[in-house]
């Protein structure tokens, strides 16, 4: 900030000044290193010639990547997670988007009660959400399994969808809709051809968020899935005996896939802006 030019500085002070100015950047580099160490570790050990337990490095191989379903049960667990994730995302995105439109575009009685009902599931620890839902399923003699898990995932995803889509609706310029109305579009047309396309990126973002929350959820799933094994559950159960390297392959692939989707999304957005 204080950039009074001093012509010659002793070397020691130059170094300390450089550190002073770049301290925050150096700190950021350490921060990112901390964030990425486990990710890099997971990726590196997906190439481990591990055999049964993937604890120590035993040599480089592509076999795990060539045969990601090689370890027993890993792909059925992945399949269950994807199925649950897609069903929960689809349902939660629709239900949450409808609520977001009601909150962002309409006036009605009971708005604060609605906001509270949206907020509370996010402020409740997962272990309580999972345990309470399971207790109710058991009370109604419903066995935990696939559908109870989907129901639970929809429940905790709705709030996040509402928050995301509502933020997008709030950031829209109301003049765009007014312009459409001025051009003799009726309410329905305005909604279909102006409002909805403008809100769409928000809905897409909410769907991605919902899927990643569902796909990664362990605690609530563990309570409500019974004997069904999802990918996080597979990792948790096999953590004691050593996780097969194929799980690292799947984890790394999800990482790159998600990264690709996010970057592609940003590029598409940038093109649209231009």
């Amino acid at each position: 900030m204080n950039q009074a030019p001093i012509p010659t500085l002793p070397f020691g002070r130059k170094v300390s000044r450089w550190f002073g100015r770049n301290l925050i950047r150096i700190y950021a580099v350490f921060g990112f290193t901390y964030l990425f160490v486990p990710v890099i570790y997971t990726f590196a050990f997906s190439f481990n010639d591990a055999g049964k337990s993937n604890l120590t490095w035993r040599g480089f191989t592509f076999n795990n990547w060539k045969n990601p379903c090689g370890a027993p049960d890993v792909c059925s667990a992945l399949g269950n997670s994807i199925k649950i994730g897609l069903l929960a995302t689809f349902t939660a995105t629709i239900l949450g988007t409808l609520i977001a439109f009601a909150l962002g575009r309409h006036r009605f009685r009971g708005r604060s009660a609605t906001n509270l009902l949206i907020f509370l599931p996010m402020a409740t620890p997962e272990v309580v959400l999972g345990a309470s839902l399971l207790a109710m399923f058991l009370a109604f003699r419903i066995n935990p399994g696939f559908w109870p898990t989907v129901i639970a995932h929809v429940m905790f995803c709705i709030s996040f969808v509402v928050v995301t889509v509502k933020a997008r609706i709030a950031s829209l310029d109301p003049r765009l809709e007014q312009a459409a109305m001025d051009l003799y579009a009726n309410e329905r047309e305005t909604f279909r051809r102006v409002t909805l396309p403008l809100v769409m990126p928000g809905i897409a973002g909410a769907a991605l968020l919902a899927f990643s929350l569902s796909f990664d959820d362990f605690i609530i799933t563990n309570f409500n899935s019974g004997t069904l094994v999802t990918f996080p559950k597979f990792v948790y159960v096999s953590a004691a005996r050593g996780i097969p390297a194929q799980a690292n392959v799947i984890g790394s692939s999800m990482f790159f896939l998600a990264l690709f989707i996010v970057i592609a999304g940003q590029l598409v957005n940038r093109k649209k802006v231009r």
């Binding site: 900030m1 204080n2 160490v37 486990p38 997971t42 609520i99 409740t124 345990a131 639970a152 563990n222």
Partner: protein
Amino acid sequence: MATRASTFSGKKGRLPYLLLAPGLLWLFTFFVLPIINLAGTSTQTPVIGGDTGQYVQTFRFANYIDAFNASREQFARSFIYATLATLLALAISYPLAYAIAFRSGKYKNLLLVLVIAPFFTSFLLRTVAWKQILGESGFVVPTLRALHIIGPNTTLTASALAVVTGMTYNFLPFMTLPLYASLERIDPRTLEASNDLYANAFTTFRKVTFPLSMPGVVAGTLLTFIPAAGDYVNAAILGNPNTTMLGNVIDSRFFRIVDYPTAAALSFMLMAAILILVTLYIRKSGTDELV
């Protein structure tokens, strides 16, 4: 608000209720009702002469006292670990968010993606990765031993330290993103004004930047503290029997001991404690409009 209301004329018909109905019905059936049902379960007692897992409603509120006394340590640990993890996450995230908001130039979006990116690898895989990195066969322990920072018999896993580290790591993006959002919104002219008034960099930070970033600090600490207090996966994977948290107890009461009333009472106390703390915290930090 006024212009928006006029666009859609602030209709007060049936439509908003039709939009709300399916989602709110879902939340009512699968969130509110289970919580009410849980309250009922928490005061039940075992059926005399019945099978394990059979309970009958006797409105025994002493269940709460029994449950609390049986897991006082875990209660304390949940809140201590969650507080430590929240403070650590704040200490790590604030400079990170600050760097992204003010010092990243054209790489801002890229860096933001990088903050979220570790989230794309399964949370459990990352926790297990920490266990192995900090474990005997990882690279951290041998390095620290070679440098004589830790003794030859000291281990890093299966400790409170590992649990808190894991929790800090897991919830870091929840802290960084709200902090970034509030820092990014700060008008640079306010910082220039502070500079013009002869405030040095530290005073500017203390009197201008930090107060303006308070909404982010509050949101970030809440988003970190709440899941951390209820977490039990880190304690299960990175801890030892002396680092169990309330979540571990609820889990084992439910599945291993089939003691639903105790699990229910503990869940309720956890939820109540979190809601009380959160309310006090929001009042104190003066950001009521947040919720």
